[in-house]
Structures are given as C-alpha cells and as structure tokens.
C-alpha cells in the first residue's frame, strides 16, 4: 500500500511506463515507419522511372486513341482521346454492374424464397440451382455462356427472327430502335415528372394509412401519372416517332439497336452466379425471423402473401442487407472478368489497350484501382444508409 504514493510522486523515469504514453509513442513510431516506407517507395520509383527514361504523367489522356470500341454508351471513334476511352470503359463497367445487381437481386430473392416453399418441386429446383451455380467457377460460367451458347448461334444470314422484327444471331440480338422526332425530350421529361409525382402520392397515401388506419388505393392515380402524363405530352405536341428497322446489309444488320453477345454473356453469368449467393442470404434472413412472428401474423388473419410482405421480409431485411452489400461489391469487381471474352469494360479498354499503347502502367493501374475503390465505397455507403434506416430502432 505504501508503494503506490511513492511511485506516483515518481522520478522522471516512470512516465515512460504509463500505458497512455507508451501507446502514444508506439503509434507515432508506427505512423512514422509507414510514412518512411511510403516516401522511400515514392523516391525510388521516381529515380528508376527517370533512369529507364519512361514517360510519366497524365498528358496521355489528351492524346488521340486511334482504336475503336465495340459497345459504347456515348459516341466514340478513333479520333477521340484516351480520356473519352476511359469514360466509355467506365460506363460499360457501371452499365453491366448496375443491370447485374438488379437482376441478381430479383433472381436471388425469388430463388431464396422458392427454396423455402412448401411445394416440393419448387424448393428442390431452387436448391439445385443454388448448389450447381454456386459451386462452378465464375470464369468458366462466363466462357460457357459466351462460347457454348451465344457464339454458337447462327450467322447473321441465318438469323433466328422473331416476328421479323427481332433478329438473334452470333453477333448478338438486334431489335428495332424507336427514334423520337422533335419534342422527344419533352416526353421523357413528362415521364420523369410523372414518376416523381407518383412517388409523392405513394408517400402521402402511406402517411395517411399510418395516421388513420385506412387503406388508400393509389395505383390507378400512379398509373395515370406515369403513363398518362407522357402520353398527353406526346399527343399535345404532336411528337413524331419513327422506327429504325434493322436490315441485313452485306455482312451484318444495319440500323436498329444491337446488344452484343459479350455483354449478354457477362450479364447472364454475373447475375445468375451472384443470385445463387443472394438466394442463400435471403433464405438465412427469412429463417432468422422467429416462427412466432409468422404464427402471430397468421393468427391475425393475414394472407400468406401479406404475412411475407408485411411481417417476415421487413424483419428479414435486417439480416439480409449487410451480406447483400458484399455480394454487390463482388459482382462489380467480378465484372472485370469481361476481359476474357472481349467485353470492353474499364479493365479491357483502359487497363488493357490504353495501358499497352501508352505504356504508362503505374498511372493507369493507379487510376483503375482508385475507380474500383470509389465505386465500392459509394455502394457500401448507400447500403449502410439503407441498412441504418431499416435496422431495428431501439426506443
């Protein structure tokens, strides 16, 4: 007992043994070490690049690319710069990822719920789907869809035609394209306003249901808003609409809108593969809701579909959303396997062709990593916000 005050009065040597001081020193040293290594890497990199006389910097972005890309969401040709090629690649990655996420979520929820179905055939079919798809390598599945299914389709001259409007061949699927004349933008604007108004109406109706307990039928109003508004606009302004029909001319179809097989193969493989994992997550989420909840809801006289929609799914979502985020991130990163089948995604166009033509590996890979990191962080942020909204609120 007498020792303690003596130590506290302490000599100068004793401060170093204090836990807080010690941990501060260790942390400062660690940060210094990391900074030192970082500085060393930066310095030697610069020296070596100078010694090999490699070109560095980001000027290459403004150089004419000289190559073409098979699928572009914005116009692109050989005269455009590498910067635009980067944008085209990025948009292609985002496009296939966004559609993949939506499809995978849809299929995943259906299969996950189906696996819990009391119908023996449905539950076994869903089980088989999960076990087969989940256990085959993704690259193999992409190659399967590409080589065994899509490029095995007939050549353009012998296309499979559906009502003579849609043509399916080994160059993809060609569909007629609607071309809006003057005022087309107004119609799309009206549609956007319609969707916005419909959302507001739904929200108002919901608040009213919560306040009064009365159910309000909103779907007729919403339908009128979403479809009616653009239609009224269309007829009022007399917008012309023409159809760009695909026509077989020489080697390929000209006109129309074509979906390339590389895109389809990648989308199908990514969506079905990720859906198998999502199905398991959904199943786990539903099973995590105590049986008593379902029984209580049934006892109240709710139909099975309502039990699922109003009682089970909202509670299951709390379990589902965090692992679902990881699956979305996986899907986006897996989309870079596009490189194996020639889909022009960011890795193929930018970290592939552009890297090779400019030789600036360090800059290009740095940017590519940064882009994937940013996409992933944005998704995670959005999912975390959503998760916070649906999470159990303890009051």
């Amino acid at each position: 007992m007498t020792d303690v005050p003596v130590r506290r009065a302490g000599t100068r040597a004793s401060w170093i043994f204090r836990p807080r001081v010690r941990s501060a020193i260790i942390q400062i040293l660690l940060v210094a070490l990391v900074a030192l290594i970082g500085w060393y890497i930066f310095r030697t990199t610069r020296q070596n690049i100078a010694a090999q006389r490699l070109v560095t910097g980001f000027d290459f972005f403004w150089v004419e690319s000289g190559f073409s890309i098979s699928q572009t969401l914005i116009p692109f040709n050989e005269n455009n710069t590498y910067a635009r090629a980067f944008l085209v690649g990025l948009l292609n990655t985002l496009f296939v990822s966004a559609l993949g996420v939506i499809l995978a979520t849809g299929i995943g929820f259906l299969v996950g719920i189906g696996r819990l179905s009391q119908n023996w055939i449905i539950s076994r079919l869903c089980g088989a789907y999960v076990e087969v798809i989940r256990n085959l390598p993704l690259l193999f599945q992409i190659l399967f869809w590409y080589l065994a299914v899509l490029t095995a389709l007939p050549v353009p001259r012998q296309s499979i035609s559906i009502f003579n409007e849609i043509f399916v061949n080994n160059r993809g699927i060609t569909v007629p394209k609607f071309v809006f004349g003057e005022g087309g933008g107004l119609v799309f604007g009206a549609a956007a306003v319609g969707v916005l108004l419909a959302l507001i109406v739904s929200w108002l109706a919901r608040s009213r249901t919560i306040a009064t307990g009365k159910l309000v039928q909103v779907w007729p109003i919403n339908l009128a808003l979403v479809l009616g508004l653009p239609l009224v606009c269309f007829f009022y302004f007399g917008v012309s609409i023409s159809i760009d029909q695909p026509v077989l001319k020489g080697f390929n179809f000209v006109g129309g809108l074509r979906i390339i097989p590389e895109f389809l193969a990648l989308l199908i493989a990514l969506a079905t593969y990720t859906a198998a994992f999502i199905a398991e997550i959904v199943r786990a989420g539903i099973l995590a809701v105590p049986r008593g909840q379902t029984e209580a809801a049934s006892a109240l006289g709710l139909r099975r579909s309502k039990v699922l929609r109003l009682v089970v799914v909202p509670q299951a979502l709390r379990v589902i959303v965090p692992p679902l985020t990881s699956q979305y991130l996986n899907l986006i990163k897996n989309s870079s396997l596009a490189v194996s089948i020639g889909y022009p995604d960011l890795v193929s166009v930018f970290a592939g062709t552009t890297l090779n033509n400019t030789g600036q590996a360090i800059e290009i890979l740095g940017i590519t990593m940064l882009v994937y990191l940013c996409i992933s962080l944005v998704i995670s942020l959005a999912m975390n916000i959503y998760n916070r909204r649906i999470a159990l609120k303890e009051r």
Partner: protein, 337 residues
C-alpha cells in the same frame, strides 16, 4: 492473373530496386541462362512442339544469343507472354530480352523505355476472310465485324485503315491470339486481322484452313524485332550484334554446313567475322569466337528463316522483303570490323 503478377512485379521492381542497376550480361552469366520472352504459341515464331521443345525464328534468335554467351544454345529459359504483358515483363526485369514478333514503332522505342535492336522479320498487316463471303478486296469489308488482339499495332492500323477509307466496322478485342482465332472460327467475326506471317500460322489452327483466304491488301509496315530495356548499352550492343552477325554470316555464305571449311578462308571480312582476326567479340564483352558459336549451334539468318517459316517449314512463306540486300530484299547488316 498472370498479367496482374507482371504489373505487380513492375511496380515492385520500379519501387524497391535501387536505381543504378546495369549489367544484364553479368546477371545472365551469374544465372547461367538467358531469360527470353516469347509468344505463347505462334507457329514459325515460337511454339512448343509435341515434345515440349520450343521452336521458331524468335526462339532460335534467343538460342543464338545463348550460344554467343555460353556456347550452349540450351541455356535459355523461355517465358510465354501475351501481347498485353510483353512490355511490362521486360520493364520489370522478368526477362532479359523480348523476342516475340514485336513491331518496332517510335513510341515503343522511346516512351516505353525500350530499345529495338533490329529487324528479324519484315512483315505487313493483312486480312483473312472466309472464301464463302466472296470478297476479293479489303475495300469491300465495310460494315464487318473484325476480331483483333488487344495492345497490338494491328488494333491501331485497323482503325487507321477503315477510318481513312470511310468504312464502318466493329472491332471485337481479345487478350490472346488463341482467343482471337477461336472467336473468328466460331463466326463471331467476319474478318481476322494481324501480321501476314501470323495469319499463315493461325490459319493452320482452323479446322478447314482452305475455306479461308488472305486478301491482297497489305495495310502497314510491321518490322518485327527483338527488344531490350533502356539503360544497359552493353547488353543492347550484344543483342543487336548477334542479329547482325547472323545476317552477315548468311551474306558471307557461312552456315552450319560450311562453317568448318569457311574457318580456313583467307577472305579478310570472313576472318574478322569468325574472330580469326581482330578482337571484335571481346569488344562486345564476349569471346572472339562468338560468331562461330552462333553458327555451329544455331545457324545463320537464312537457315533459321528457312527452317522455321520458309521453304523447309509448314508455313512455306516466301522470303520476299526478308531476302538479303544482295539478293533483292532489304535484310542488311552493318559490317563487323
């Protein structure tokens, strides 16, 4: 994944290995072998045969290099590379020399930090189509789908040619030559394009090679040659002069068959080349009998050409531009003296 490892090693080597790092020859001698980057499977240029031995003109060039250094053509390790990986592999010191049907261009020679030593094969880009398509000229290829390999001059020439002739096309870009020819065979593309020598080689892989034809138009200059890194002049000189020695040897009629007899020649230029007079080999950092080693072990330029891509090979490509300057071609090497 392999690609990532190259890029990673590039970053690591650029980041961690100290700057003053020359002396590739010393490294090669210490290691006991030359590390040579080649194509993964291109008949006539570099391809493993059914016994797993590498064959081809690019492969034989590396063997000649090993023969000049070690007097042993087997002291080479071959590393198969895709078109996309090849420069990164060289920059990151994964290989000592890149001998992989690579086109010499100004940007590769400068901003990529590389040096081309010379031209092993003068090539040009062409197009292959199905005979059933009934096309006789590349100018009829408007609105076609073209399969092409990523990160090649081919991809850029293709853009130039179609653009300057106002023709529309769709390029489907793959990583490896194998993927490109497979996509063409599956019917994904109407046109297959690359250097003509390579078209000859790839056509052999098709199930019915005779159903396909090469169009007469040649749309580019493709001088293919070995490449080394910037920053080691001695190694650059050695690789360059191994090539020149093989061309000079053909010119002076020094071949595997005639070498023993030519060693007795009293022509001064032959004596200089074979190291009987002067110390030109030592000036390079090799031994004076360096050319004798190359010829005995591998052969002269004409021999490796005929054996791999020319008359004695499956490809049977005409020598054309690759004839010696004295025989109507443009293969020409500076003198050893």
């Amino acid at each position: 994944m392999k690609r990532l490892s190259f890029v990673f090693s590039l970053v690591v080597s650029v980041a961690f290995i100290g700057a003053a790092h020359a002396g590739t020859l010393d490294d090669v001698k210490a290691r006991g072998s030359v590390l040579c980057g080649v194509s993964g499977g291109l008949a006539g240029f570099s391809q493993p045969d059914d016994k797993g031995n590498w064959t081809g003109i690019d492969v034989d060039f590396c063997r000649a290099l090993a023969a000049a250094i070690f007097d042993d053509p087997t002291k080479v390790k071959f590393l198969p590379l895709t078109a996309k990986d090849r420069f990164t592999a060289l920059q990151s010191r994964e290989i000592d020399v890149l001998s992989r049907n690579t086109t010499w261009t100004s940007s590769r020679d400068t901003s990529l930090g590389l040096n081309f030593v010379g031209v092993v094969y003068y090539d040009a880009q062409g197009f292959m189509v199905r005979k059933a398509a009934k096309v006789s000229s590349a100018l009829e290829l408007s609105n076609t789908t073209v399969c092409v390999q990523s990160g090649t001059t081919t991809q850029l020439n293709l853009g130039d040619y179609f653009r300057s002739n106002n023709m529309k096309y769709e390029a489907v870009v793959f990583n490896t030559a194998d993927e490109v020819i497979k996509a063409y065979e599956s019917g994904r593309c109407d046109v297959f394009t690359t250097d003509v020598s390579q078209i000859y080689a790839e056509r052999l892989k098709l199930s019915k090679p005779d159903d396909h034809m090469i169009l007469p138009e040649l749309i580019s200059k493709e001088p293919l040659g070995p490449v080394v890194r910037h920053g080691d002049d001695q190694w650059f000189d050695i690789v360059k002069w191994v090539l020149f020695a093989m061309i000079n040897a053909e010119e002076y009629d020094i071949s595997q068959k005639t070498i023993e007899q030519r060693l007795k020649s009293d022509r001064p230029d032959v004596k200089r080349l074979l190291g009987i007079e002067g110390n030109y080999g030592e000036q390079l950092g090799l031994t004076n009998d360096w050319v004798v080693r190359i010829i005995r072990r591998v052969g002269n330029y004409g021999e490796i050409f005929d054996r791999n891509v020319g008359a004695d090979s499956r490809l049977k490509i005409e020598r054309g531009l690759n004839k010696l300057w004295s025989k109507g071609g443009i293969q020409y090497a500076p003198p050893v003296r």
